[in-house]
């Protein structure tokens, strides 16, 4: 095999160094982007997995008449614990599925009402009027005692599967 000597370089040193420094410089800055990114998105107001009711909250919940609703803090949004007229305790995320407005329970109409665009949900959280595309997000309530005799312990879970997963983990 004959060796052929090229008397010049295809890439001169100056442009080679320029390109290399651009690449390494980009790598240098890329290392700094991730920490700043994590600082900007700390994930603090992420939706919680569960909320445990305190004594004070339980007392207010037990004081409800049928057809009344208790508002509590579910992460950064309101949660709605409804003592329905059929005797069941149903817990919803109190945010309209249409445009993220907070909904209100109207005891007189027996519905959840969103004032932003006149959306209505029935007492099961089903969307029955207006723009809401989906029913209200249902949360999973795990409690001891009964509504009549008084609830002694209440844990609200994001969903039943979250509860099962946590119980398996524990």
């Amino acid at each position: 095999m004959t060796q052929r000597h090229i008397p010049y370089s295809l890439v001169d040193r100056r442009s080679f160094l320029g390109r290399i420094s651009a690449i390494v410089g980009a790598g240098f800055f890329a290392q700094l982007v991730l920490p700043v990114w994590r600082y900007l998105f700390p994930g603090m107001s992420r939706e919680p997995d569960k909320v445990e009711f305190t004594e004070d909250m339980l007392a207010q919940l037990n004081a409800l008449e049928p057809g009344q609703c208790f508002r509590f803090q579910w992460g950064g949004v309101p949660g709605l614990a409804l003592r329905a007229r059929d005797g069941e305790l149903r817990v919803f995320k109190g945010v309209c599925t249409h445009a993220d407005c907070n909904v209100a329970w109207r005891s007189a109409n027996n519905d959840f009402f969103c004032a932003c665009h006149d959306g209505r949900y029935d007492e099961f959280g089903k969307n029955i009027e207006g723009p809401p595309p989906r029913p209200l997000t249902r949360l999973f309530a795990e409690f001891e005692g009964s509504l009549e005799a008084g609830i002694t312990k209440l844990t609200v879970w994001r969903s039943e599967s979250v509860r099962l997963k946590e119980q398996e983990g524990a």
Binding site: R13, R14, G27, F28, Q31, P35, V36, P42
Partner: protein, 406 residues
């Protein structure tokens, strides 16, 4: 393309109209100004990031800083960086000013550059003073009470200055928003304006040429810019490493009603003034003449600041060496007073253990980051330096080719 050539008709004795060096490779002091600008930019970035979580009221301020230090991902690094960087920035600006004073580059038409520079130095110091209060911890509340109390001794306007900064007769909840507004809005805007003029004046009136023979031309790019980049890179790398290895601490929440802690003293850049005020308190014989110790120290400090500001007026061409010696003496006094005060007494205030524990826990986890980080810093340095070397060689060969033609 050809960055080396310049119009040969240009008189090399005149300062050039742009940021271009003629003569020898610049000395290390030439890099101070640009480094300070880089550090200022770093302060802006970290400061804006801190603003995202900081709560500027005396009730929540301390707790929000605790949250930044313990709960927010990377928050402890950002705050430590901001704090460490403030010290280095002030030191850099001070050295820059000292360099200018000794080299006497403030004369005649360059005096506007000097005046804007003086304003920038005061702004940076003031930034340090106002930022110190923001975590609202034990030391900062007391230090601010002392600092804002100083101007009260001035005749006529003194009490008004004190009350303006305190927002009342004493430090309290109303003081913090004032310092916050000054720290993040008023002073930064002043700095931006002054820095803009500073740079415009430098471009208009030229930079000082490094001493030595003027035969070889050293262009701004790549020699100055790339070396400056290397300097900034290393300053940043060292700062970040320091922020990780020595995280900023957080002292317990401050209370304006609490007694001053033992051995209280300000940050190092105010130590000399602090010590001068303390020492002048010993000159009791003057009080019989009607000069109180506080007024005397204010006269001394005011005099020193006045001389510093008016240097271009005082030291005109042919002024001799006397001013250079005065600057040297003042520098030695400043350093001596600072050291004397630093080794004299230290405030014994423990930091919040929760923050310290969390920081040392996080520090161990971050050590793995430092290895690739420093590798990239060293590689980048090597590449940048070889770029400069390569350019030097090309310049040399082109120059010899020119000489051959002639």
């Amino acid at each position: 393309m050809d960055r080396v050539e310049e119009s040969p008709a240009r008189d090399s004795r005149k300062p050039t109209g742009s940021l271009r060096f003629l003569g020898r490779r610049p000395r290390w002091t030439h890099y101070l100004g640009c480094t300070a600008m880089f550090l200022l930019a770093l302060q802006v970035v970290t400061g804006v990031l801190l603003l995202l979580y900081y709560q500027p009221n005396s009730r929540d301020a301390h707790d929000s800083v605790r949250v930044i230090m313990t709960d927010i991902p990377m928050g402890w690094i950002i705050r430590s960086l901001h704090r460490r960087c403030s010290h280095v920035l002030i030191l850099t600006v001070m050295l820059h000013a000292l360099d200018v004073l000794l080299a006497k580059t403030f004369r005649r038409k360059r005096s506007p550059t000097y005046y804007t520079g003086v304003l920038l130095l005061f702004c940076v110091l003031f930034m340090g003073f106002t930022g110190y209060l923001l975590p609202w911890d034990t030391l900062s509340v007391v230090a601010t009470a002392v600092g804002t109390g100083l101007p009260a001794e001035l005749p006529l306007i003194g009490p008004y200055i004190t009350e303006f900064f305190r927002g009342g007769s004493a430090i309290g909840a109303q003081t913090l928003p004032r310092f916050f507004a000054l720290h993040i809005s008023v002073i930064p805007m002043t700095v931006a304006l002054a820095l803009g003029f500073h740079i415009v004046f430098i471009r208009r009136h030229g930079m000082r040429r490094p001493p030595g023979p003027q035969r070889k031309r050293v262009p701004l790019y790549p020699d100055f810019i790339l070396l400056q980049a290397v300097v900034c890179l290393w300053v940043f790398a060292i700062l970040l490493t320091a922020a990780i290895l020595l995280p900023a601490e957080l002292r317990p929440e401050g209370n304006p009603m609490a007694p001053a802690p033992e051995g209280i003293r300000p940050e190092w850049y105010f130590l000399a003034a602090f010590e001068a005020i303390k020492l002048s308190g010993n000159l009791t014989f003057l009080s019989s003449v009607g000069v109180t110790a506080e007024l005397l120290s204010l006269i001394l400090l005011g005099g020193a600041i006045g001389v510093f500001v008016l240097m271009p007026v005082l030291d005109r061409k042919g002024g001799g060496r006397i001013w250079r010696w005065i600057v040297r003496a003042a520098t030695v006094t400043f350093v001596a007073l600072t050291c004397y005060s630093m080794f004299g007494s230290a405030p014994e205030v423990e930091s919040v253990t929760e923050v310290a524990d969390r920081a040392s826990e996080l520090r161990v986890r971050t050590l793995g980051f430092l290895v690739p980080f420093w590798l990239s810093v060293v590689t980048l340095t090597w590449i940048l330096v070889s770029q400069i070397r390569l350019h030097d060689r090309i310049t040399a060969s082109e120059m010899s080719a020119h000489r051959g033609k002639a």
